[in-house]
């Protein structure tokens, strides 16, 4: 009997203890949107106003890519507050960040222009309101000795994550070398496992982005980057994609966010801030600042002028429209989705234009 009673008391005590520790962890003060929700929807309903600008913070899911980690500068320096907009940045793995956006749990997500189409084809439309950067060398084709240019890939095995941006880069490398996909043998390898795959010798080359491409170069010192995104600047743009609903309802707030980005880009572009920028950004990903600098080099950050330049129609990769067209075709031919997506709704340069006008 005594034993049973002890057992029972354990049973009773356990949930209490748990409840206690759950209570002891209130979400950080800026993370109270859930608590505020009912009251707010009520207010919104009462006022019949679809745009409560003083509402809950905008939520943005961001992940580990230098162009997006740069948001950290604005976060840490309090620039969003200065701009009069409250933004709750949530730190994600890349794929889960897009899943959270698809599920409607965040207002915006950082992704590539190609992935924006993929996310949209599965039912979560988005609008890119600004371009953070384009990859300018961070994505690389890393090959073992004997392969010095893309044309040397003929008959070789290449490890790449099929259907993703690395694959797209590989196609461009092949084109540059006068080859087609049937001239090589593709081995489907998750990007974060490419360094050890190259090292193991099962493939002759891999395609990956940073930090995986850098790790491959370090761990296989004889290997060389024979083709990089710097050879095709503008093939991969990294953007801030907002849900159409949030953009409609909180346009002014998003404009402020775009404004903060321009401030961040200006800050990064100024040489004398290099150390401080690297320090803030490396802290986000758990690296030392000096380890982070090389990753920033392969990223071409776009400021206001840069956004205006690349946010235009054109028939080279300098235009994000053209770049998105290219990736659209690529994704159709790789059966990522069935039919080409109409890309215009995914790109909206109006906020950038308004900011430029306000500046002049």
């Amino acid at each position: 009997m005594l034993n049973r009673r002890t057992w029972l008391s354990v049973l009773v005590a356990f949930p209490l203890a748990l409840a206690g520790c759950q209570k002891s962890t209130p979400p950080a003060p800026q993370e109270t949107p859930q608590a505020a929700k009912p009251a707010e929807t009520l207010n919104a309903a009462k006022a019949q106003a679809p745009a409560p600008t003083q509402g809950k913070p905008l939520t943005i899911a961001y992940s580990d890519w230098p162009g997006w980690v740069a948001w950290e500068i604005g976060i840490q320096k309090g620039w969003f507050k200065e701009a009069g907009v409250e933004v709750d940045f949530k730190w994600f793995e890349y794929v889960p960040s897009m899943e959270a956006f698809s599920a409607g749990k965040v207002d915006a997500v950082t992704m590539t222009n190609g992935d924006a189409l993929v996310t949209g084809s599965s039912g979560a439309p988005s609008v890119a309101i600004l371009i953070n950067d384009y990859s300018n060398g961070n994505d690389m084709l890393v090959a073992k000795p004997g392969i010095n240019k893309p044309a040397d890939l003929k008959g070789k095995k290449v490890g790449v994550e099929v259907g993703f941006v690395s694959h797209l880069l590989l196609m461009n490398a092949l084109k540059a070398g006068g080859l087609t996909e049937s001239d090589i043998k593709i081995v489907n390898v998750p990007t974060d496992q490419t360094p050890q795959t190259l090292k193991s010798g099962t493939v002759d080359a891999i395609v990956a982005w940073q930090p995986n491409s850098g790790a491959a170069l370090r761990e296989v010192p004889s290997a060389k980057a024979v083709f990089t995104s710097a050879n095709v600047p503008g093939l991969i743009y990294d953007v801030l994609s907002v849900s159409p609903k949030s953009l409609t309802e909180r346009r002014e707030d998003w404009k402020k966010v775009v404004g903060v980005w321009m401030r961040i880009a200006d800050f990064i572009k100024d040489e004398k801030n290099a150390d401080e920028a690297a320090k803030i950004m490396s802290a986000r990903v758990g690296l030392k600042p000096e380890e982070y600098k090389p990753l920033m080099k392969g990223t071409f950050f776009l400021d206001l002028a840069g956004n205006q330049k690349h946010f235009t129609q054109g028939d080279t990769l300098e235009s994000i429209y053209n770049s998105t067209d290219v990736v659209n075709q690529f994704q159709v031919s790789n059966k990522v989705y069935k039919a080409a997506v109409v890309i215009e709704p995914y790109l909206d340069r109006s906020l950038v234009d308004e900011l430029a006008k306000a500046k002049n």
């Binding site: 034993n3 962890t25 793995e93 790790a215 761990e219 010192p221």
Partner: protein, 364 residues
């Protein structure tokens, strides 16, 4: 003690021997790891270049530079090139791949991980992250137990519930829990909830089957005796089934909580990254394997500690089962001494605890 006694079948070993073996169980892998790490001629397939020699000499291996980890063959080939040119040779020391850091590197990483303040304003200390992870595990496991244990007992007792639930549970338990991550985010949000949901999904279905199975192993004669005395179904459950299976149920929970831990790393990368897994994954991405090993050792230690504490408590809750840890037995004998119970009695208790009396075992 004669050697043959050490290998006696299903006999408790003397305390000293037991403790020594337990220590060995941990020391041996550590020694093996140390040998592989510190003895230069064991494994060490690579060379850490300390001096690249005369770098002006051209050759197909001229990429060799200070600080590189390269294959022994490449290193030798480079030195051959240098020797042919009559130039200064490269020097280096044998090294292992970065995927296997040495024990002292991991120990240092372990220490610094706890002592370094979070670099980023707003980030957590490592011990806070660990505690966060523990809370995820316990919450997920708790909800699984709240539902899984009663359901398991019902399934194990009544054929009706067994046929109603078990086939589907059996079907779902083969599904990889992490796949439900995106769904969990869509349904319950971004913060701790989807992580708890994954732990729940990973544990609950196993739990129902394990508990049902444990319940089924209860001696049927006990239930028949109850029925003979006129017990109703509810009374059978309350006075026979539940008390009868409690000790084994407790053991099941011990094993299943370990099961819950194995889902932690996938769970914590769902939604907003958090806990020890966020640290582990980030460090792995940037190939800081000393930190990676340090954090998996932390997870192992927490798991082992939880298990030992549960076993220890189990020894007190169900002394007749003779389970419990060596520490528990040792402590119990100490406590017995302190309570000034004669030594013989303490020993007798211990004997009783480790060898249940045959009558109890065989009682109908």
């Amino acid at each position: 003690m004669a050697r043959s006694n050490l290998f006696a079948v299903r006999k408790e070993l003397p305390t000293q021997v037991r403790l020594m073996l337990v220590a060995f169980a941990f020391v041996l892998p550590l020694v093996a790891w140390s040998i592989v790490s510190y003895v230069p001629f064991v494994w060490h397939p690579l060379v850490l270049v300390e001096n690249a020699g005369d770098t002006s000499v051209a050759g197909s291996y001229s990429y060799v530079e200070v600080g590189q980890l390269i294959e022994k063959e490449a290193f030798d080939a480079r030195n051959l090139e240098l020797a042919k040119a009559g130039a200064k040779l490269a020097r280096g020391t044998p090294a292992n791949p970065i995927y296997l850091p040495a024990p002292h590197e991991v120990a240092r990483a372990f220490y610094t991980a706890f002592t370094t303040a979070p670099e980023r304003t707003g980030d957590k200390w490592l011990h806070e992250s660990l505690w966060h992870s523990c809370r995820i595990i316990f919450a997920g496991f708790f909800y699984a137990a709240i539902l899984g244990v009663p359901l398991g007992i019902l399934c194990g007792t009544f054929g009706f519930f067994s046929k109603l639930f078990e086939p589907f549970v059996d079907f779902v338990r083969y599904m990889p829990a992490p796949v439900f991550g995106a769904l969990a985010v869509a349904v319950v949000g971004l913060e701790d909830e989807p992580k708890i949901a994954i732990i729940f999904i990973g544990t609950f279905f196993q739990m129902v089957l394990v508990v049902a199975n444990t319940t089924r192993q209860l001696d049927l004669a006990l239930l028949e005796a109850g029925q003979t005395l006129g017990a109703k179904n509810r009374q059978l459950l309350r006075y026979i089934v539940i008390p009868g299976i409690l000790p084994r149920l407790y053991q099941d929970m011990r094993i299943l909580i370990g099961w819950a831990w194995t889902y932690l790393v996938v769970a914590e990368l769902i939604g907003e990254k958090s806990g020890i897994s966020a640290f582990l994954y980030q460090q792995q991405r940037y190939r800081h394997f000393d930190n990676v090993y340090a954090s998996i050792i932390m997870i192992g230690m927490i798991g082992l500690l939880t298990d030992q504490v549960l076993a220890f408590v189990g020894g007190f809750l169900f002394p007749w089962e003779g389970e419990g840890t060596g520490v528990a037995r040792w402590l119990k004998s100490k406590l017995a001494k302190r309570a000034q119970i004669p030594k013989e009695k303490a020993r007798a208790q211990e004997r009783l605890a480790t060898h249940p009396s045959p009558t109890e075992e065989a009682s109908p």
